[in-house]
Symmetry: C2
């Protein structure tokens, strides 16, 4: 387990009623760990929404699942680790299609009701026979308890060192649960983030879609960079309606956002090579978009990230990064605070660098622009020897 | 000396007639190395052009020198290492002004004819007395030989491990010479690049300006990322007219571009932590701008850079980076060649990864988009343990 990663909550995609899940060994990844997961929505409803990578190089499962989601309806999701099925051409697309058909046959539904997600190495064909046999094993292994959800979450792990699950039960009688995987940073999504979120609330597809986009915008998209997506990034939201409760839309969106944020924080804590959890908070921006842009630029800056790895409160690098962000900025109004110590006021040194204690695992960088009410927060990590080691030592 | 850096050419800013230079110990940087340089244009002409950082957080010497360059005339340039004089407010600006005044007094000209450049740590005041005394020492040490140009180039080095100079003598009777410093990467300019280029050709300021912008656009701006500039980046071009020769403008611009490219390649080879010189060539883009955008996105991608550090021809990461670049791209037309081996044809695996030999220090990544005639090349480096070490272990 990574130093900063914590044990996940006890419940994931099977926390809501109406869902079964499983994770099995299909022989896709090297080694003998579980690598294929199945999540099934037993209804009575099958409303769904999805958010996919904006990368122009889209993996076959993304191309397939985007088609599925146009119907607003998903009966099941097949996920695999160990191979991204990206840059695999028509053969790769046929494999994704065959995977959905196999699951559909076992579940007695149409292939167009089955979404597919993959993560792993880009550019090699997914071993189709292994996947299809794996789908059959996964179907046989389906269960509705916490262990089943955990098994699914485990089977999608790649360089993740811990399982990532979250759940929220609302007093009104509905529940949201989720799993995710993703560990590569600087740009977390580059290493593919896959998330499946389930709910037993009664919500139709258009509302699910709106709620999911709102939640992702301030959770997964605020984990470093959303402009820098992998070929496979996928977030799916499935609603079974099994609670029989129609939720208040605002309450549902808020709870969904909390679950997505919880999962995003788990990804941050388990990022490759992470030694610091860094939160970049920008306030006083002319607009929220500007705040996101400045926070993201600071969060991505390699000189900032290496300085923080070295526990150095190098606010000059933070100022320089903010200054080249494509956003309104007046250097004479720039304040920078690191772990509670104001180090730069009005663009000039203030306080004492030595007072900012960065020895611990958490660093909060506050950048106040003094221009307006725009505010945003980006979660990121430091750039460490571990990051370089993990990303140079093996092909992924 | 860095493993990849080579000995510079014998001539720099004093190669053209009409220039003197010096480098002295002024006590600005920690340690006792030379840290203040002076370059003087003895005329008869004093035409000049400059290109400055587009960072909104501009160092005091940039704010000062931008004013100077509005006149199209520069008599001398004072440069210091060890302190960026950035984020230093009115006091810092007064120090830059006082520096120019001191040099002007010694040279018998106006302060507005003296440009100032600084590089080093952001956010602390430059020790003004040391700088002013250093200017006097530098003035006393001025010389017009190669050793004097070398002394100036040496005094501006920060984490540079070798002096960086270049020169070009044209058959028509004029010469261009230059010095530069800059070593921080991923975004090279983040660590401040300062360059002074001199010529004895007879060229007026508007032509110098046009030639310099054209040269910088395809040299320093193609060394990784131009959108990611430090608070201090400055490129100055000074013309003495001492050769008495009016050059052909196209020939002059071409020679200036060659000198700037030579200096840019020296910066690439001496980048912090570099173990690979990486050239990313994009062809077949819809436009040249698109080609630059794709090449830059691939060049900046941390997963690509770490893979190449590990000598892994991971074309899938290259495809993914190209796919999230903000440029037109059709994944079905994407070809990727690494060190001469076609690894991806039409967006799908081709050839054999093992055939691409990346053990040597040079890696050429070719990305062919198949959409149009747009082409561009970006120079970058790998992301190594050395980079992390150098940027986390000390404050810069």
């Amino acid at each position: 387990m990574s130093e900063l990663a914590s044990e996940p909550s006890a419940q994931g995609v099977t926390a809501p009623q109406g869902f079964r899940a499983s994770g099995v060994v299909a022989g896709i990844r090297s080694g003998d760990g579980p690598d294929l997961a199945l999540v099934v929505n037993d209804g009575p409803q099958h409303a769904a929404a999805g958010v996919f990578t904006r990368n122009k190089v889209k993996a076959a499962p993304v191309l397939w699942s985007e088609q599925v989601l146009t119907t607003g309806r998903v009966r099941a999701v097949v996920l695999n680790a160990g191979n991204a099925n990206a840059c695999t051409g028509p053969e790769g697309f046929q494999t994704a299609h065959a995977t959905a058909e196999k699951a559909a046959e076992l579940l007695g539904c149409g292939a167009v009701e089955v979404a597919v997600c993959s993560t792993g190495l880009i550019g090699s064909q997914l071993p189709r026979d292994n996947v299809l046999a794996g789908v059959a094993s996964a179907h046989a292994a389906l269960g509705d308890g916490a262990a089943a959800g955990r098994a699914a979450a485990t089977a999608v792990m790649t360089t993740d060192t811990v399982v990532k699950e979250a759940a929220h039960s609302d007093d009104a009688g509905w529940t949201i649960g989720g799993l995710t995987k993703g560990a590569g940073m600087i740009a977390p999504s580059m290493a593919t983030m896959l998330a499946v979120v389930t709910t037993d609330a009664v919500v139709d597809a258009p509302v699910l879609d709106e709620a999911l986009r709102a939640a992702v915008r301030v959770s997964f998209d605020r984990l470093d960079v959303d402009g820098c997506m992998s070929t496979n990034d996928t977030v799916l939201l499935l609603a079974s309606g099994a609670s029989g409760v129609v939720p208040d839309t605002a309450a549902f969106t808020a709870a969904l956002t909390d679950v997505c944020r919880d999962l995003a924080r788990q990804m941050q804590a388990d990022a490759e090579g992470v030694t610091k959890r860094i939160t970049v908070q920008v306030t006083g921006a002319a607009t929220e978009d500007d705040a996101v842009t400045v926070a993201r630029t600071v969060a991505r800056d390699s000189l900032v990230k290496t300085a923080l790895f070295g526990s150095d409160p190098n606010w000059g690098r933070i100022a320089a990064a903010a200054g080249y962000a494509d956003a309104a900025l007046d250097p004479d109004r720039l304040d920078i605070t690191v772990n509670g110590v104001l180090l730069c006021r009005g663009g000039v040194a203030a306080g004492n660098r030595a007072d900012a204690d960065l020895k611990g695992p958490d660093v909060v960088v506050e950048v106040a622009l003094g221009l307006g009410d725009g505010a945003a927060e980006i979660l990121t990590t430091d750039l460490s020897h571990g990051y370089v080691e993990e990303n140079s030592a093996y092909s992924s």
